[in-house]
Symmetry: C2
Subunit: 115 residues, 2 copies
DNA sequence: TTGCATGCCTTGAACCAATAGGTATGATAC
DNA sequence: GTATCATACCTATTGGTTCAAGGCATGCAA
């Protein structure tokens, strides 16, 4: 029973970060705000969530960070690698499968449909 | 990185159990199979997941268990309580909000729509 | 010079699914 | 008759992930 974010968040931060980076490189602080804004404040990830995700993704080779100075500020811009693209595809697919399966139960379609 | 079930499972077991019980009382072993069958085997929860969920829900007053003997077998049938019904409503709502928000990012609708 | 927004980061606790066990009964197969 | 399987219940432990709560530094405005 989290006060800030509802449950159902497992794996969502990674998916959202990858998806947003597909539109072009972004830096951590910017991702935090983009996620808050684009979800209409339904999902509000703290920096303590986003930065570890970025570091894990970079370590896994899914994204690549470049330090750059903008207006005297130091930012780390992250870009998707080919591995990151396929990871995104994989996660998007998984997301569709799981949400679809749950939705099926919620709607109450009592049939074991093939594929 | 779970080997069996994909990620995105946070809170899902509780939601599925509550939803299935809305159709009428069921027992643990039966719930395990129903979840596997009705999701087309996309979601496959072990008994080690379902039983703790049932115990937690009963402790919270969301469901009520009755031990009953059927064919010489002892089963504990669980039924939704009024508290369980509102918990189900709450979770269903949350599920819709979160999946909707994520979907919005996945599709790439860059607008902060109200409500 | 005080405060605030930006921008990066880590640590600790808490939660929850998943694994891997364990017990016991009835039915079926050898 | 006894070994095995499906049924039916249960718990302890592990591991992964989110989250809160900090800390550090810079630029700009009051």
């Amino acid at each position: 029973m989290a006060a800030t974010n509802p449950s159902f968040m497992n794996g969502v931060p990674e998916l959202l970060v990858l998806r947003l980076l597909r539109n072009g490189e972004m830096y951590g602080y910017q991702l935090v705000q983009a996620i808050r804004d684009e979800t209409g404040e339904v999902v509000n990830l703290g920096e303590g969530v986003v930065y570890p995700v970025l570091h894990a993704l970079e370590k896994a080779g899914a994204i690549i960070g470049h330090r750059r100075a903008v207006n005297g500020r130091s930012r780390i811009y992250y870009a998707l690698s080919p591995a990151g693209v396929s990871r995104l595809t994989e996660l998007t697919d998984l997301w569709a499968r799981v949400t679809g399966a749950v939705q099926q139960v919620l709607v109450g379609d009592t049939h074991a449909g093939l594929v």
